[in-house]
């Protein structure tokens, strides 16, 4: 699974669109505001590639909309992702509590062998690490299922690689152009 050249192209087009929307106000803004706009349009561009099919991309768009709903609306105008801006992500937190409770009851009933102890410890460690992952992947806190979490992570990483590759090429080229 690698970022494809068509992903790179699509990302670049979307990102350019976002920057063009920001362009008129560029002379009146500070460097930090420009950086914010650059980063935000890059994130929305990356998320829109998934056309609302992944949890992380929907969460990222919603988060971006809270920071600059105008920019996000303009970037997604006419696409069905526009509806994502207002849709609330389902909170699955209460289901996790029920699963946790029923697992505790299960564990109490079983008698554990040494092998089971080791497996249980390993699972606990994995659980701690997936918690870290949930903090880093957008919308992670809504993914109660570990399988879903890792599937989303895989997709998120490939998209991030696309974002970084394209941004890096543009910035390197721009810096080289300025230095000459």
């Amino acid at each position: 699974m690698q970022p494809t050249s068509s992903m790179n192209e699509q990302f670049l087009k979307k990102w350019q669109m976002g920057l063009q929307i920001f362009r008129p106000s560029i002379d009146n803004t500070s460097v930090s505001e420009r950086k914010r706009a650059i980063k935000l349009s890059a994130d929305v561009a990356m998320a829109s590639l998934r056309k609302g099919t992944t949890c992380w991309s929907r969460a990222l768009i919603q988060k971006a909309a809270t920071e600059d709903s105008f920019l996000v609306r303009q970037m997604l105008a006419g696409i069905k992702e526009e509806t994502l801006i207002n849709r609330k992500l389902p909170k699955i937190v209460c289901h996790r509590k029920i699963v946790r409770r029923s697992k505790k009851i299960l564990m109490r009933r079983k008698s554990r062998s040494a092998m089971e102890e080791v497996t249980a410890k390993a699972k606990k460690l994995v659980k701690r690490k997936t918690k870290g992952l949930r903090n880093v992947v957008p919308g992670g806190e809504f993914m109660s299922n570990n399988v879903l979490l890792i599937q989303e992570t895989l997709d998120y990483i490939v998209s991030l690689q696309t974002q970084v590759n394209v941004m890096r090429s543009i910035v390197d080229a721009a810096e080289a152009g300025v230095e000459r």
Partner: protein, 92 residues
């Protein structure tokens, strides 16, 4: 009622174990740190997850750094200069 629940959660655990192994191996292939290791080294699932977190954070930092550089480029360049038009043609 409780029997059904216990049966469901235990079978859910069994399915996800196999899927987890498959997904974790896919993660391995994406992480540059782990890919570069010798094939003979086995990597634990928790190590892979840990490296994944680190990798994602690293990518976030790169995006932040690149946005920084770009915003400063746009600032440092004279509106009417040749460089400004280069950047504009690349980006806008």
């Amino acid at each position: 009622m409780s029997n059904r629940r216990s049966r469901q959660s235990s079978s859910a655990l069994r399915i996800s174990d196999d899927q987890m192994i498959d997904l974790v191996s896919k993660l391995c292939q994406l992480l540059p740190e782990i890919r570069e290791r010798r094939r003979s080294d086995k990597v634990s699932a928790s190590k892979v997850l840990h490296e994944t977190c680190n990798y994602i954070r690293k990518l976030h930092r790169e995006v932040d750094n690149l946005s920084d550089r770009l915003s400063q480029l746009l600032d440092a360049v004279d509106e009417d200069s040749h460089e400004a038009s280069v950047i504009r043609s690349l980006l806008m």
